[in-house]
Amino acid sequence: MKAYEQSGEHTPMGAYLSRRSFLRTASLATTGGILGGLVGCGGSSSGGSAASDAGELNLFIWTEYVPESVLQSFQDETGITVNVSYYSTNEDLYAKLRSETEGTYDIVQPSDYMVAKLIAQDMLEPLDTGGLENFSNIGSSYLGMSYDPDNAYSVPYMVAMAGLAYNSSMVDKPIEGYADLFDPAYENSILVLDDARCVIGITNLVLGHDASTTDPDELAAAADKLMTMKKNVKIFDSDNAKASLISGDCAIAYNWNAELVLASREVPDIEYVYPSEGAIINEDNWCIAKGAANYDNAMKFIDYILRPEVSAACSEELPYVNPNMAALDILGSEYTDNEALNPTPDQMASCVYIDNLSVDAQASYEEIWTSFKK
């Protein structure tokens, strides 16, 4: 211990020296930083000049769901400055919307069951669809859903279908349904959505139960069943599955259809599959958040997206199931005949929605999820 104390005596000088050299180096970065800062400010002020007249619009939307080019062209046409923040699951949206003060976001993009939850909590502004010129473009089968029977709060944007894809050069036999994800043959080769409801949901389906079951025995069965998939899962990703599919980091992916389709366009060996158990789908909607500071701009934006050519542009870049009938006319048969982009009526009938759950049931799902991801 004596030796240690002795070292203490040397502290000031040694520490001083290292601080000194740290200081030198750090000062350089500051100068660089300030220069950078000026550049940054220059950039933002030029972008902001048009904003003063037309105001702004704050979007809180899914990652990679609305093409940047479309947001840019809306900005160019209207002069409204669009600020975008992203989320990756409905639950993320809810938590953030809940914790932020009202008026932070103007537009949010919840899926079906989340619309119901937000309405129930008075977190949305009523939305007068009569004021939207292009509302009639939406196909009637996508309107009046149980979560918002009169579309008093929501306007459909796209339907994301959680399908499967596999790289035929990496697996021996074709993948057919969700049950294949549990096959021990696929150890450490699967990518799944980082989404508790979607992954536990398909486990319920494979067991022949309701995707949103709250029955304790069925959930216990799901928890056990899910653990048999644990070894197979290599990556959890809700945002960029195509990158891992393309790079060959996974052989099979359970993900949103557009991601899978985009990957299959890049790599011919990648095949899209509509799962035999029925795909879980999210019908995603435009909603206006309670206390939105830019209500009129929000309505303008929704109407803009509903335009056939704009909606078609969205589908071209990010190919989801498009409920905009006028857009489908533009996209043509190449789009409408592709069941990965436009499911057949049979498939559509077998699609599964996720239900809103009570806090306790939600907690059970969360427990299973934690156990799965641990």
């Binding site: 211990m1 030796a3 240690y4 002795q6 070292s7 203490g8 040397h10 502290t11 000088m13 040694g14 520490a15 020296l17 290292s18 601080r19 050299s21 740290f22 030198r24 180096t25 750090a26 970065a29 660089g32 699951t89 639950e91 993320d92 809810y94 938590a95 953030k96 809940r98 939850k117 129930a120 909590q121 980082d194 508790a196 899962v233 290599k234 990556i235 959890f236 990703d237 393309i246 790079s247 060959g248 980091d249 009570s358 806090v359 939600q362 907690a363 969360e366 427990e367 999820w369 934690t370 156990s371 991801k373 641990k374």
Partner: protein, 287 residues
């Protein structure tokens, strides 16, 4: 004299009050809030409501969570051990070199700091991915036939943690080793000690302060770095940080997240106490 004394009081107040107030409002109060929140329940929508309950703490004993804590501690321990193992010889070499370029060597450790840590971690991901640099080069050289698979594993998470936290180990080690008095090493050798003896009995005890402060600065942050295991670990080896992050985001269970945070604070306190016992200087952690 009375005037000066009053002046003293005013001066003392002016100097200390802003920081005291700031730290109280933005450090003490938030932590008190977190403590309070950890005893809250949830309403039907999952929002925190005050109703004194200890169920969040009872939940912490859930076997799955215990496994996550254990893994976190193991990952943080492995990270710290690797940082010491790789960093000590390195810091020793650059701190005791007689080269004129010593300061360059030192600065080369700091320069990576100015590239955002996420950007650098992503750089590794690009490097190791199936179509990444490493596989391409090795395949190009004919050393391997198929891309090698390194991403999305726990060792990869440890690798990323070591990478992010390595400088925090090297800098205190460097300070400690640099102030080591060379004549002591010579004296030890003159007295007939073998090199290993000199290292164990002279060098190591004299530089242990650097190891201690470096370890604190690596181990504790490691428990909370959720983004590394998300990016390089593929999200399938959760750590405490991921668990807490999820409670405040998708799981929307703030009371549980608060209880988990309190536990993390307790772990921190235990470690810092141990550090102080071993004679660690608290200020060394911030310099």
């Amino acid at each position: 004299m009375g005037k000066r004394l009053r002046g003293e009081t005013l001066a003392a107040f002016t100097m200390v009050a802003p920081a005291a107030l700031w730290l109280f409002v933005f450090v003490a109060v938030p932590l008190i809030y977190v403590l309070g929140l950890s005893f809250c329940g949830q309403d039907e929508f999952g929002n925190a409501v005050f109703e004194f309950t200890t169920k969040n703490y009872a939940n912490l004993l859930n076997a799955d969570y215990l496994q996550i804590y254990l893994r976190s501690v193991l990952i943080a321990g492995a990270t710290t051990a690797l940082c010491v193992a790789v960093g000590y010889p390195f810091a020793y070499i650059i701190a005791r070199t007689s080269s004129r370029h010593k300061s360059v060597f030192y600065m080369l450790v700091i320069i990576p700091f100015w590239t955002n840590s996420l950007v650098r971690v992503y750089g590794w991901k690009t490097f190791f991915s199936g179509t990444g640099w490493l596989s391409s080069v090795l395949m190009g050289l004919g050393l391997i036939d198929a891309p090698i698979d390194l991403l999305y594993t726990t060792p990869m998470t440890v690798f990323g943690m070591v990478y992010c936290l390595f400088p925090y180990m090297v800098l205190p080690l460097y300070s400690a080793i640099e102030k080591l008095d060379g004549s002591l090493i010579e004296a030890s050798a003159d007295l007939g000690a073998r090199r290993s003896e000199t290292f164990l009995r002279v060098i190591l005890p004299l530089t242990s302060s650097g190891i201690f402060s470096g370890s604190i600065m690596v181990f504790i942050p490691c428990l909370g770095y959720f983004f590394v295991s998300d990016i390089l670990g593929g999200g399938n080896a959760d750590m405490i940080g991921n668990l807490i992050e999820r409670q405040f985001q998708s799981a929307n269970n703030w009371p549980l997240g608060a209880a988990l945070s309190i536990m993390l604070i307790l772990i921190t306190i235990v470690l810092v106490r141990a550090y102080q016992r071993m004679g660690g200087d608290m200020d060394a952690l911030g310099v």
